[in-house]
Each structure stands twice: as structure tokens, then as C-alpha cells.
Amino acid sequence: MDGLFWMVLGLASIIGLVTLLFGIQHLAGKAARVRFVVGGAGALATLALLSAADSLLIFALTWIALNLCTYILMNHAPRWRAARTSASLLGRYLAASSLFLAVGFLILNHVDDGSLKDVVQNASLDPPVVVALLCIFMAAGIQMALWPAHRWLMATLNAPTPSMVIMQISILGAGVILLVRFAPLYVEAVYILWCLFTVGVLTSTLATLWSLIQNDVRCMLAYAAMAQMGFVTVLCGLGLFPAAMFHLCAFGLWQMYRLLSANASRRHASSPDALPKFGHILSGLFFGGVAAYIFSSLAGYAWWADDTTRFLSIVTIVGSTQLAIAVTNALTFWGKFPLAWIISATSGAVYGLFLKLATRVMPELYSDYPSPLCLWHMLGVIVMLTPWLLMFFRRALQNNALPDWVLKAYVFMWNAGQPSASVITPHRNQYNLKNP
């Protein structure tokens, strides 16, 4: 029962309390309610257990139990073809992740049977251990819906809203817990860490792009979840495991709120921040820099460090800059610049304090393992930053004289973001549920 367990238990408790209470009312009088309560409570309980498991066998069994619970949640309407195929698709992905996990654990079991902590502390990076770590990465990658193993995440959208919340958070959370539990070993295997970083960058960038292209709330939120998982993977790839766990919890709470209130999203006004004034961008960047300085001081990182913790400073600069631009755009009175400064500086401070708290709570074994920055890391950062800057010019898409290559790229990404054909309901009579 370490700090990681308490973090996960706290997350599972809040999500369980809100979502189960929500679901019991939301599904009142429906056959799916019992299934939801059993599957939902089971999934969240196993998620908490998973974070406490210190035996490879118990970890694997809990993993399988969690996947079974989520499968029960997904298999809620056998008469609705898309829901049935979604359950089957999810089942296949979860079976694959369980298989990879089993293989990885079997290999590790030969190294040191029993305690998970002993394994990660004692194992040396022999080829079998590297294979095991790759298997575990595959299991976590599938579970975390990392590109290209993300198709199952869209399938969960055919589930009732509260079931969808529990499924997404417990399945994705299990993947993150798995990666974090093997943090000390991954830190040793630098090339796997680079793989994590690369897959994370690709996933977060592609998924954010797809989420912004989507025309409906559920798909937008599913891709937003995938993007967050990509970001968490980037943090793992940079050796920033407490930050990864913090972002898992933050994502869980935010995603829960967004999904449960998704039916209220009728009029979602597009952001008015397209191409803000140059002065606003410059002042925003300055405020962002200040916020990042405050963040570094409070989070306990060196300002503009030469190691991977600099990545968090960059995230703070981007986030605070965006915040400052939004605030200056929203306000009209003269005091908007000082106010934007105060708000962005406060945001940096709050973010820093939260990360500090997460670092304190996490056991030492899973603390930060920053590594020196390399060109590959900087390349990843550029890949993530460029689309953020390009978003300010997105109104150009409405130009009717766009070159063909832009149109081709748009259509390509648009198609790539479409859900699998088998989980779509192409004719309304296939949704043949006669009672709620």
C-alpha cells in the first residue's frame, strides 16, 4: 500500500461515487442498470487492487478481472448490432493486451518469481527482460489506446454514458499503472523509453488533430482521452513518472465530468481565438515564461533545466500563453493585461504545486528519472508545438482556393479519424431496442 495505491484509490473512489450514483439514476428502470452496477463497481475496485498488487500473479489476475468487468459493461445490448460488435472488438483488444502481459510476466517470473518490486529492482537488462519489457509496453499500449492500437476506444462510445466513463478510465488507467510499476526497469532500457516517447508524441498529436476534426461530442471526447494518454506516455518516456500519474488522475476527473455532461453540449461555440493580435501573442508568451518560472520553482525543478524536466516547463509556457491570450481576448477593459498576467502566473503556480504534491505522494521507487535532453526529444517537442502554433491560422481552411495537397492531407486525416465500420449503425433500424 504505497502512495501510488492511495492516488489510484482516491481517483477510483471519486469516480466510483459520482459515476455509480449518476448511473443508478440515469439507468433507472433499465435492464442495463444491474450490469452497470456490477461491472462498474468491479472495474473500479480491480483498478484500485491493481495498483496495490505486488505479486506478478495477482497483478495479472487483477488485470484480467478488470478487463472482464469492462467487457461486461460493454456487452450491454446484444440486440443492437453495433453494440455487439463493439463488445467483440473491445474483447479482442483486451484479450491481446492480457496475452502480452501474460507473456511478459512469464518471462519476468523466471528472473525473480513473486514480488513485483523485487523484479523491477533486481532484474538486469538481459535480452529476455528486454523482450518482457516490450511485451509489457505492448500490453500497456493497447490498454492506453496508443496509436495504432486505439480502435477499441471508439467502440466504447456505443455504451451507456456512465458505463463509458468507467470503462475508459479503468482500462486506460490500468495501462498507465502498468507502465509506472515498471518505471525503474524502463529507465534502464533507454531505447524503449525513446519508443515510449515517440509513440506518445505521435499519439497525442494525431489524437488531438482527430478530436478537433470530429463533428460529434462522443468521438471528440474519445480522441481527447487518447491524446491525454499520448501525453502521459510522453511523460513516461521522459522518465517523469509522478507527473504521468498526476495527469492520469487529472484526466480521469476531467473526462468523467466531460462525458457525464456531454448531452448538454448542443451549442459549442468555436473558439474565437483564431489569429489573435500579434501583441497578444507576444505578451502571452512573456506571461507564459513567467508562469513557467514560477512553476519550476514550486514544483522543485530547475528553471530551463538541461534534462527532460524542461518538457514540463514548455507545457507550462504553452498552456499559460494560451490562457493569457484567451483572457486578453475575453476582456475589454484596460486592466486585462495585468489580470492575464496574474491568472497565467497563478496557473503556473497551481500546476507546480499539484506536481510537487504528486511527487511527494509517489514512492521513491517511482519518482522522477529525468534524462539529459537529446535531439530526438527536441524533435518531439517541435512536432507537438508546431500544430499548436498553426491552430491560430486555422481559419485559412475556409479559403476556397486551398492547394490540393492541403485538401488531400485534410481528407486523409479525416478518413483516418473515422471509427471502424463495424461499430457504426448505418441504418437506424439496426438500433432495435424497443425499451430503455
Partner: protein
């Protein structure tokens, strides 16, 4: 409603001249498609409106063959997936942050530009791509070209086009709405129907070159389609009719009595009836029923530029009024401003790259806490939420500009309003015009619970504008010349009935001191009536909790997890046109639309004709919406609320992606117990008027005549002279009951 009759409109599509055969063929293929309104103003109408030219039973059979198909040919499923993909992206202007390029070119031209680059359409490669580039820019020419390539024989071409439409009915209905009822929408040029067909045909040719087989498939379906038994429906209808007749037959005309303390005019909506009954039981109150827009069609313009058409779908846009939110205190004003800024910043941070990662780290604890508060303390959470995001209707204080009406127009609206309700004398000192609206959270179809006569919006603004007119001395002087004399001490007050909680908000601003006590007494009695109404409703639903009935209703309407809040118009069954004394002593259980009518002031039946041509048509739309959503929930309903997915801000889909799901959700129809669930019956109209006036009104109106002769609705008449009931048969002859 009469006041607006001169503006009465017909769908725009039917006004267009048919100049050539292809145009005629396209229009004919669309003739069976009923419009489906967007979420912003969900107006309920019958999904089989296009089939009303046929007898009910035949229409059900034909509609079954077109719409209730269990399976589609597999290639058609792929075609539907691609069509949904293009339509969703093309019509989305609010959800996506990266909208489809080329939207401004229109649907067909945008498709022609993008489709050659779409590898999911071009499985067989460059040849198809080249073919797409040869298609004409004119969608009608393209339709003809593709029909020829698909080898659809000329006599079957119209049927083929119709099948292209009916195999994706949700989207087709929404496009029909854009064509007929949203002409100001830039995405709905007149050629939208042809453009949609051209896109669908092009996708069909690319994915299923042998789609001509669809005709054979349809013919087989027609042979296989079973005839629907109407036995249960007819037996329900007869039972309801007999019981209503028995109850009404017992009613006696009122004796001379003292003038009432107050008179209240409510919307004809079925949810007004229980409140009216309970209020009348409390003392000398007189209530009336009329269309909830009080005869004044409005277009409401908000501060942010949003324009809401606030009038029945049968009418054209009316007077424009500007609506501005007001705040009681400085704190309220600042909270609302803060809410606006927070929403702006939130959207800006969450809808971009990298921003959401930082944002999640900042607001996650707040999200967890707020979710918990919304779940366990919904009323408190809702109260705070509306402070941060005030609604644009009462009880929020709003400022309405005065419509630019001349004295003659004002007098016209006022006179029509009084005559249509039969209120031309014996005015009480206080007359309340009560609009209505609903309250629910986290419900994409919430506007379907608001006032349909106000275009799916709240009706309080209409009440306020008419009250201003009726309190105008100049208007009263003109009315007196028309023998409608309003006493000097009579004051008109606007109000709004919240149909979810049955609370009534009264606009007490500008009320003279002489009427303060009367208002206070009325508010007290309305609160008692609210309590009785809420208790009655919960008894029907067998709800039994420790909370008081009102608190329970308030909590349900503020609960984000709730899917059963406002019962809406479930179990609606009849429209009763006549004086209130006919039904005053009966509990109609919230199943009847009540329109007041006094036959003694309608010598030639003109008022009755107006009422029937509007109220009966609208009631039949609503009844049809509920009827078909109950008869075949998957075909005409929108499925379970728990799996609905809001699409592009104007429609819902089921799950990941589907056709647009129009119609009512399963929770709106099946409400836990049989006593609360919708009963499948056709609308029964009961009119208290001389038979010949009723017959004249029906025969002179094509829509009404069609509805009666084809048995889409039933009509009974109680002739005041003979005190007997008659039913109007399909051959338009009377049969005594």
C-alpha cells in the same frame, strides 16, 4: 393564432415552379419526407406527414415498406456510412474546430472537390477518380447521368430516388427541414434537395455500381411487409372516446355567477390542464386555453446576435424584438460575466493542441468536486450554474424591445386574441397571460419540452408583449369601438408556467399598487395548485419519497443524471375545443389540449375554422410524433438517452455514429409504469359547436379534410343546440353517438 393567419406559409419547396421533368422527379421523390427540426428548436411533427394523402392503414403499410426495413443490402450500409460522414462534416459549423474545407461552395460542389481525394470512396483507383471529375457541376444533370450509369429504367427512376432518401431517413428529414423551414440558413440553397441526391447517387455508383437492383429488393420488401393490425389502437381509441363523452355529457353550463378574481390564459398544451384544474378548484378563477404564442409571431434577437424564430412552424417569421438579459444585483451581473469569460477561456484552452494537457492539470480537482455537487445536491448546483450562465427566459429578468407595430396592428392582434378565446366581456380586474417553458439539464432534446407554438422556445416573451399591447389605453379605446370594452381597473400581467416543476412566475414589474394584493393572493393560490399538480403527477408515477412533491420535481429538473424529468406531452390523446365549463369538473389527467371557444360569438363559424386550421393541425403533429415514436421506436424514435451522441450541435446519433435519430427518446415514451407510458392512439378532436360550422371548417381546409377522410385523426362534435354527440366519418357525414 388567428392574428397571424395572413402570414400563413406553406413549405418553400412546394412553392417552386417545376420547370423540367428532372426537377419534378426530384420533388416527387421528396414528397414523402417529413421535416425534422434541429435541437435548437425541436418542433414535434408527424414523421409520416408525407403519407397523409393516403388512408391511415394504407399509409402505415407503405411507410413500413419504405422505413421499417430490418436489413439493408450490405453495399447500401457502406453507402450510408459514407453519406453520414460527408453530411455530418458538411453541415457542422459549431462542433468541429477544423471544419470541412470548401463548405462555402455548397454540398455538391464541395463533394466534387473533395471526393476525388477520398481513398475510402476510390477503392478501385484512378479510374473512379477520373469519373468523379467528369461529373457536371449542376446536380440535376449529375443525377440524370448517374441514373443512366446505374441502369435504372426511366419508369423506376423516381422510385429509385425515393429509396435513396428513405434508406437514410434521419438525414433526409433534416435536409427537408433545411429546405422548407430554414431558408435563411446559408447552407440550404434551394438546390439542396438535388445536391443531396446527387451526392448520394455518386457515392452509390462508386460503391455499388449494380445498385439498380434496389428496385427488385424494394418490390420483394413490399410483398413481405405484413399488414399492421390496428386492433389495439382502435380499441384504445374507442375506450378513450367513450369515457370522454360520458364525462362531458355530465357537464352543465354555468349559472350566472359573480365575476372571477382573476382570469388566466394558458397555452393549449396538455401540461396546462392539471394546473388549471387545481387552480380553479381553489376559488373564483377562470382559465382559458389558446395557442401559447398568443397570436403574435415573433423573431427574438439576442445580444450575441443569435436569432430565434418564436412562432409556430405553420407561420412565417413575425416582428423582431431584441432581448437583453438583466441582472437583479451587481453580484449577479458579475457572476454572469465571470461565467461568460470562464466558458470562453475553457473553450479556447480545451480546443487546441497541448492546451488541454495543461488545462486538465489545473481544473481536474474542480471537475471532481463539481461533478459530486451536481450529483448529490442538484438544486444547489443548478442555482449556481444559472447564476454563471443565466437562461434567456423567466424567471431571469429580461428586457424586451417593443415591436414596431402600428395602432391598427396592435388592435388587430388584441381583438383576435379575445375573440378566439371567447373572452369579450366580464373581464376580471386581473388577467394573466401565461406562456410556458420547461427546465431540464443535460438533455439534448430539451427544446422539445418547451412551447411548440413559440417554435420550441419559452412563451413568456409573447405574453409580455401582448400584455403591453392590452394595457395600452389607445388600444383599449380602439377595442371598445369593436364592442370589446375592457374596464379601466383591469390589468394584464404576463406569466410563465414551468412545466417541469409547475411553478408559475409572474412578471410583477409595472403592476399598479391597486393590484398588488390580487397578485399576492394569486401567487399563493398558484403555489397551492403547484403542490396539488406535482402530487397528482407523482401519484401517477407511484413516486414515494420523503421529499415534498415540489422539491422532488425541482430536484428532478435540476438533476444531470435524470432522464425522466418533464413528462412532456406523453399520453396526449385529444383536443377539446369549447368553453371551459365543459371539462371543468373532469380530471383529464393531462391528456387533452384545451382550446377555449365560445360558439355564441361565432355566428358564421369563422373563428372555429381558424382554431381548427391551426390548433388541430399542430395537435395532430404532436400526437403523430408520439404515436409513431411509440409504434416503432427504432424507426421513428431517437433511442435511449443513455447512448445518444450530440452531433454538430443540431442532431443526435446513437453511439459512435449513426443516421440522425429524429423522434422521441425511449425514456420519453416508456416512463417506468404503464400509467405513465404513452398510449398509442390517434388524436381525437372534440368540438362544441354547431355541426354545420364544424363541417364547413373541415371541408374548406385541404389539410383538415385529408386528415379526417383518411382517418389520421378522429373528430366528434357536441352540438350545443341538440346536446348530442356526433362523430364525423371518413365520408364526411355525421353519425350520432
Amino acid at each position: 393564432m388567428t392574428a397571424a393567419t395572413p402570414h400563413k406559409s406553406t413549405p418553400l419547396s412546394s412553392n417552386r415552379p417545376q420547370t423540367n421533368p428532372i426537377e419534378a422527379m426530384v420533388q416527387d421523390s421528396w414528397s414523402k419526407i417529413a421535416p425534422a427540426w434541429p435541437l435548437q428548436n425541436l418542433i414535434l411533427n408527424s414523421p409520416l406527414k408525407g403519407f397523409e394523402t393516403k388512408p391511415f392503414e394504407t399509409a402505415l403499410f407503405e411507410a413500413c415498406a419504405f422505413f421499417e426495413l430490418k436489413e439493408l443490402p450490405p453495399p447500401l450500409e457502406s453507402i450510408n456510412r459514407q453519406t453520414i460522414k460527408y453530411l455530418t462534416a458538411f453541415f457542422d459549423t459549431t462542433q468541429t474546430m477544423l471544419p470541412l474545407p470548401m463548405q462555402a461552395l455548397g454540398l455538391w460542389k464541395a463533394f466534387l472537390k473533395l471526393a476525388p481525394m477520398d481513398q475510402s470512396l476510390l477503392a478501385s483507383g484512378a479510374q473512379r477518380c477520373a469519373w468523379l471529375k467528369t461529373l457536371p457541376q449542376d446536380p440535376k444533370k449529375a443525377i440524370l447521368k448517374i441514373l443512366a450509369l446505374l441502369t435504372v429504367p426511366a419508369p423506376h427512376q423516381e422510385l429509385f430516388l425515393r429509396l435513396m432518401l428513405t434508406t437514410l431517413p434521419g438525414w433526409t428529414s433534416h435536409i427537408q427541414y433545411r429546405v422548407d423551414h430554414a431558408p435563411e440558413d446559408k447552407t440550404s440553397p434551394p438546390a439542396l434537395q438535388s445536391a443531396y441526391l446527387a451526392v448520394r447517387l455518386a457515392i452509390t455508383y462508386l460503391l455499388w455500381p449494380k445498385a439498380g437492383d434496389l428496385i427488385t429488393w424494394h418490390k420483394t420488401n413490399l410483398q413481405k411487409t405484413p399488414k399492421k393490425s390496428l386492433k389495439t389502437m382502435v380499441s384504445n381509441e374507442n375506450a378513450y372516446r367513450d369515457s370522454l363523452i360520458q364525462d362531458i355529457a355530465r357537464a352543465d353550463p354555468p349559472q350566472q355567477s359573480s365575476p372571477p378574481k382573476a382570469q388566466l390564459a394558458f397555452c393549449i398544451d396538455v401540461r396546462s390542464e392539471p394546473l388549471r384544474r387545481h387552480l380553479e378548484a381553489l376559488g373564483s378563477y377562470e382559465t382559458f386555453g389558446c395557442a401559447g404564442f398568443f397570436g403574435i409571431p415573433l423573431t427574438i434577437k439576442h445580444e450575441d446576435g443569435q436569432v430565434d424564430p418564436s412562432h409556430p412552424a405553420l407561420f412565417k417569421a413575425g416582428e423582431t424584438v431584441h432581448l437583453r438579459l438583466m441582472h437583479e444585483t451587481y453580484l449577479d451581473q458579475n457572476l454572469a460575466r465571470l461565467g461568460q469569460i470562464c466558458r470562453h477561456v475553457y473553450t479556447s484552452m480545451s480546443q487546441t493542441f497541448m492546451g488541454p494537457f495543461f488545462l486538465s492539470g489545473l481544473i481536474a480537482p474542480l471537475c471532481g468536486l463539481w461533478s459530486l455537487v451536481r450529483t448529490v445536491c442538484p438544486r444547489g448546483a443548478h442555482a449556481l450554474a444559472i447564476k454563471m450562465n443565466p437562461p434567456r427566459h423567466p424567471p431571469q429578468k429580461i428586457l424586451l424591445s417593443k415591436p414596431s407595430l402600428s395602432l391598427a396592428q396592435k388592435t388587430h392582434y388584441a381583438e383576435k386574441f379575445f375573440r378566439i378565446m371567447g373572452l369579450t366581456k366580464k373581464f376580471a380586474p386581473l388577467v394573466v397571460l401565461c406562456g410556458h417553458g420547461s427546465q431540464s439539464v443535460n438533455n439534448p432534446q430539451k427544446t422539445s419540452l418547451d412551447c411548440g407554438a413559440c417554435g420550441g422556445h419559452h412563451g413568456g416573451s409573447h405574453a409580455r408583449i401582448l400584455c403591453d399591447i392590452l394595457n395600452d389605453h389607445a388600444v383599449r379605446a380602439q377595442l371598445a369601438k369593436q364592442s370589446i370594452t375592457i374596464p379601466a381597473d383591469t390589468f394584464f400581467v404576463a406569466a410563465e408556467h414551468n412545466t417541469a416543476t409547475d411553478a408559475v412566475w409572474i412578471d410583477t414589474h409595472h403592476v399598479p399598487a391597486s393590484h398588488h394584493q390580487a397578485i399576492k393572493n394569486l401567487e399563493k393560490d398558484l403555489h397551492t395548485a403547484q403542490l396539488h399538480t406535482a402530487t397528482e403527477r407523482q401519484r401517477r408515477g407511484k413516486a414515494n419519497t420523503g421529499l415534498s412533491s415540489i422539491r422532488r420535481a425541482q430536484a428532478k429538473s435540476a438533476q444531470w443524471a435524470d432522464v425522466h424529468g418533464d413528462a412532456g406531452l406523453v399520453r396526449n390523446a385529444s383536443l377539446i375545443v369549447g368553453p371551459r365549463w365543459l371539462t371543468q369538473s373532469i380530471s383529464l389527467k393531462g391528456r387533452a389540449f384545451l382550446h377555449s371557444y365560445d360558439p355564441t360569438i361565432d355566428q358564421d363559424g369563422a373563428i372555429l375554422a381558424t382554431i381548427l386550421s391551426s390548433a388541430m393541425v399542430v395537435a395532430q403533429w404532436i400526437n403523430g410524433h408520439y404515436l409513431f415514436s411509440s409504434l416503432s421506436p427504432s424507426t421513428y424514435g431517437s433511442g435511449s438517452r443513455s447512448t445518444q451522441n450530440v452531433m454538430a450541435g443540431f442532431g443526435v446519433m446513437q453511439g459512435v455514429s449513426s443516421d440522425l435519430m429524429t423522434g422521441l427518446s425511449l425514456e420519453s415514451i416508456h416512463r417506468g409504469s404503464k400509467r405513465e407510458s404513452h398510449e398509442t392512439i390517434r388524436l381525437l378532436t372534440m368540438v362544441y359547436a354547431p355541426k354545420e360550422h364544424v363541417l364547413k371548417a373541415i371541408t374548406h381546409n385541404d389539410t383538415l379534410r385529408t386528415l379526417i377522410t383518411h382517418q389520421w385523426t378522429h373528430l366528434i362534435c357536441m352540438d350545443p343546440r341538440l346536446k348530442r354527440f356526433y362523430t364525423l366519418k371518413a365520408d364526411l357525414t355525421w353519425m350520432p353517438l
